[in-house]
């Protein structure tokens, strides 16, 4: 039974995501759409399974939802702050500089999401990763103290991502 389950759904998250995206693309929840979505959700992961031999560990969904809500809220707040900086502060007075964030995260998925989060919250853009993947190079538009900024990123985002993925 469990072998049949694993054959039909080698990657349950991917199946679920494929089905949801299909329904959203069609933009309806009629019976035909849902049946086709379920069909695609089962067939696509089976056909593509040879291409992802190392499947990522399943994230903790509850904490992931909390994280997404937090990031959306931060985007809202940071947008207002950056709009103020762009409109009312002269270029000379902007203290834009590089911030080096030491990483404790190991899994590539978690580091990717952290880098994406940093870029999406206005005011910081992640530029590069060090060769061993232990440091993240971040550009801050206006910051008084780069080390404080790095600590903030670690405390606010990296700690939560560590709980979600590791």
């Amino acid at each position: 039974m469990s072998r049949l389950f694993r054959f039909l759904l080698p990657h349950p998250m991917l199946s679920f995501l494929t089905a949801v995206v299909w329904c959203l693309l069609i933009n309806s929840l009629s019976l035909g759409t849902v049946v086709l979505a379920a069909f695609l959700g089962i067939v696509v992961p089976i056909l593509t399974s040879p291409y992802w031999p190392n499947r990522p560990a399943a994230p903790k969904v509850g904490k992931l939802i909390v994280y997404v809500a937090l990031v959306l809220w931060d985007i809202l707040i940071a947008n207002i702050g950056v709009a103020y900086i762009v409109l009312f502060r002269s270029n000379q007075k902007m203290r834009s500089r590089w911030v080096v964030v030491p990483l404790e995260l190991k899994s590539p998925e978690a580091i990717t999401i952290l880098a994406g989060t940093i870029t999406l919250t206005p005011g910081t853009v992640s530029a590069d990763l060090s060769d061993k993947g232990r440091y993240l190079l971040v550009h801050a538009l206006d910051t008084a103290d780069p080390e404080e900024e790095a600590k903030e990123i670690k405390h606010r985002y990296e700690r939560r991502l560590k709980e979600i993925f590791e």
């Binding site: 709009a83 834009s96 590089w98 870029t119 206005p122 061993k132």
Partner: protein, 124 residues
């Protein structure tokens, strides 16, 4: 009526942040600073406009959720393009000098060392 006001407020907020993003592109003076401007327009600007579209669809039509997909694809692709532009800026060297990573050798975009290419094989 009340929904019309809500939709209008969302549209105006979206327009304002898209506008501020464009002002940022014009005003900011270094390439790395200019990368910051579009991240604003593409998050809150587009997000607010899409929210207005969704509210309109739910109030006046059957409802629509595929705006969420636009948002999701935008959130997945925007950081990658920003990252590529940053790397191009690093290579063009018209940015502030980057601090070296404290423990590691260099930033990976400059990493052309033997670890990347692999040692040449000697056959005796």
């Amino acid at each position: 009526m009340i929904w019309d006001i809500v939709i209008s407020v969302c549209l105006v907020i979206g327009a304002i942040f898209t506008f501020v993003g464009s002002i940022g592109l014009l005003k900011l003076d270094t390439p790395m600073k200019r990368v910051h401007a579009p991240t604003k327009a593409s998050t809150l600007g587009v997000g607010s406009l899409l929210l207005a579209s969704m509210i309109h669809a739910f109030v006046y039509e059957g409802g629509s959720l595929h705006e969420l997909l636009i948002m999701a694809f935008l959130f997945v692709t925007a950081p990658i393009s920003a990252n590529f532009i940053s790397k191009v800026n690093l290579h063009r060297e018209d940015v502030d000098p980057t601090p070296p990573p404290p423990g590691d050798r260099t930033w990976s975009t400059f990493d052309t060392g033997p670890a990347d290419v692999g040692e040449p094989h000697h056959i005796d």
